[in-house]
Symmetry: C2
Subunit: 410 residues, 2 copies
Amino acid sequence: MTSSAGPFRIGLLGHGTVGAALAELLPQRAAQIEHVTGLRPEIVGVLTRSRGDFEQILAASDLVVELIGGIEPARDYVIRAMRAGKHVVTANKQLLAQHGEELWAIARECGVQLRFEAAVAGVVPVIRVLQESLAAAHVERIHGIVNGTSNFILSEMARTGAAYADVLKEAQRLGYAEADPSEDVNGKDAAAKMAILARLAFDTPVHLDQVVCEGIERIGPDDLEYARDLGLGLKLIGTAERVDGGISVRVHPAFLYARHPLASIDGPFNAVTVESEAITEITMSGPGAGGPQTASAVLGDVISAMIPPASTPETSVRLEVVADVVSAFYLHMEVADTPGVLSRITGVLGEHGISVKSVVQKGLGDNARLVMVVHPVLESRFFAAVERIATLTELRTPPRAIRVIEEEFS
Amino acid sequence: MTSSAGPFRIGLLGHGTVGAALAELLPQRAAQIEHVTGLRPEIVGVLTRSRGDFEQILAASDLVVELIGGIEPARDYVIRAMRAGKHVVTANKQLLAQHGEELWAIARECGVQLRFEAAVAGVVPVIRVLQESLAAAHVERIHGIVNGTSNFILSEMARTGAAYADVLKEAQRLGYAEADPSEDVNGKDAAAKMAILARLAFDTPVHLDQVVCEGIERIGPDDLEYARDLGLGLKLIGTAERVDGGISVRVHPAFLYARHPLASIDGPFNAVTVESEAITEITMSGPGAGGPQTASAVLGDVISAMIPPASTPETSVRLEVVADVVSAFYLHMEVADTPGVLSRITGVLGEHGISVKSVVQKGLGDNARLVMVVHPVLESRFFAAVERIATLTELRTPPRAIRVIEEEFS
Ligand SMILES: NC(=O)c1ccc[n+]([C@@H]2O[C@H](COP(=O)([O-])OP(=O)(O)OC[C@H]3O[C@@H](n4cnc5c(N)ncnc54)[C@H](OP(=O)(O)O)[C@@H]3O)[C@@H](O)[C@H]2O)c1
Ligand SMILES: NC(=O)c1ccc[n+]([C@@H]2O[C@H](COP(=O)([O-])OP(=O)(O)OC[C@H]3O[C@@H](n4cnc5c(N)ncnc54)[C@H](OP(=O)(O)O)[C@@H]3O)[C@@H](O)[C@H]2O)c1
């Protein structure tokens, strides 16, 4: 597949934030790469909307790096490259979360490598660790902070006490959020990454559409105040875990106990914790995005592809993706400060078999703020109770529920 | 090298904490490993002091796992295995920190793999990440908590306020410290690990003897009290970094600012932070020891060896290992509470060109406790000043100096 002497020829598709950073980084590191691999890497062609010809670049390359993003034409190019016997390195989470099985099958069929470290948590080497270090581990659970924009926003809200909308504007000004941040803040970007991680960890097909997902748009300053008072972290958490012989993959805001390894991850960072009985847990963290950082992860993949193997093996099981799981919850309500209100609310909870762990009530003039934490309960049952509570005449604003991740290892 | 069909045959040298855990784990994971690699791994022989024959095991194996520890006979067995064309996986930090160059050269010469993930931070995949993900990164600095015993002791001292000797006894009772804990608490174990990390990160030979090393035996409860009051972490930190065209590799206790990624690593955990301009920084953490955990890391190496390549390339540069570097310091002194004492001490510091950042003085009857933090200074100059200060008649106990790691990334 690779020319056995002379340079190792790389075709670069896309020359935006990551592509341009890679084009700058590669020549700087070429000598070191030659030392490690015996081959000198060289970019032989660049494709953007305005320059380059895909067929020509393909013919001249040993490996193709896809940094266009989105589904088409990225999918088409990746498939054509593999069918032509070229290795592919990509940072495209959408492509893998939606068409991963098709692409991995073609890679196996064609005997080429398809590498994608940069697609999930930027420079954090979670793909390599899952595929190699933990190739034979029985992974129980992955928790990840895999969207730097939303983590930056929550960190800033916690630090400054400011409201979501204001912090979002500031994040856009600083370049930590895009002009259109919807996929970052509504959890969709994180969901694509969790789909990929779940696929690798559990060896079963997982599609983006199977990931349950909730964003951070409704988090208020008083949720973060509550977190601070109790020494908890409040993060947008991706979870992929085994439940009852199946798996659950989801993204939502969650409170984390203070000593959870993800509770202290602040700012635009990503971090992933992998739990398994034999290893206990591993946590990895680092910048989740940025041109040079993402390009470094791409380069690590290029080097690995220059040395032989490691393909993504066919999935060996087909696990059910469960949507309804058990979780503890925080429930935030603004209510009329009347005598019967607390008992009516706890009554509804009781009817649904939900048991309350703690209640904090604060007076706000005629109204009161009620914050409850309930013990773990099946989510569908909890949400049914919340729906009933929302209809109570004492409610001033819709109740707000956030999951609570409790300590399991000690 | 590997028999192309049938099982993949593993010879196991050592059946202690890690060896026995591996012998238990491997059969449990054999089917998954066969799925990933196409070969079914099998332990074909075990060597201990009382059973097994090395030559016989060697002849029957495709790969040898060395879990004896120490230099001889481990070194001899590892060399003989490689010379016989077998891959080797080892968890032996002493062997690699003292004879690494010899062993890596033989591995290259014989075209076999020598893998050693478990030698440095247990299940934390720092070796793989340095050798693969960061193979072409220009690493600037590594900070590591690479000894779980000493980290457990410092965490417990911080949590309980108890003295070093009492916490050590408790750690021994709980199995977090061995009957003879000297190598753990005097920094020697961490020094061996940092030598290996520095070798990989900077691509230059580093021997254990070149690592400057100081342990935690002299840390007192009031040092930890000081850390808590200022929101700092106090850890046994290994550092490997570039300085003035050379490198420095050292192990010593250090205060860490609260947001340093290692400041929150508590208990018997290990963690490593790798800094490089392009990647900013990556942090990895997890259990640093324990039978099943270490065996899991060994197993990851076995699987990688079952799939082809990745050798440790020959070093390409020969960097000077610098012993004297610049550091900020905390200086703890118990002095007679007389008028001139502070000015005499700051006078000595001034003569040595050392500038004071903060001073806290607490009365203790006729005596006082003085805690100073000084700005970064060449260590030799600082220690010369401390030596002078120790001779002052007002000093009640020898002064105690601990390095302070200040914020660099923000
Ligand atoms: N940015 C990050 O920090 C980051 C982090 C992790 C992963 N990623 C992933 O990396 C990939 C690239 O991201 P990016 O931020 O570098 O994107 P970007 O800045 O928008 O750059 C995209 C590049 O692709 C080119 N392109 C777009 N459509 C094309 C088409 N139809 N044919 C040929 N070229 C086309 C663009 O060409 P023009 O120059 O002509 O517009 C541009 O050069 C995405 O999959 C993204 O999810 C990015
Ligand atoms: N324990 C951990 O958590 C941990 C973590 C990371 C790395 N490591 C490393 O892993 C290695 C093994 O550690 P361990 O804790 O498993 O050691 P261990 O419990 O002391 O076991 C050592 C084993 O080696 C055997 N052995 C000793 N000398 C021998 C000789 N001359 N010939 C043949 N066999 C001999 C012993 O045989 P007998 O059974 O006959 O005594 C025993 O089975 C060491 O390099 C250690 O640094 C350990």
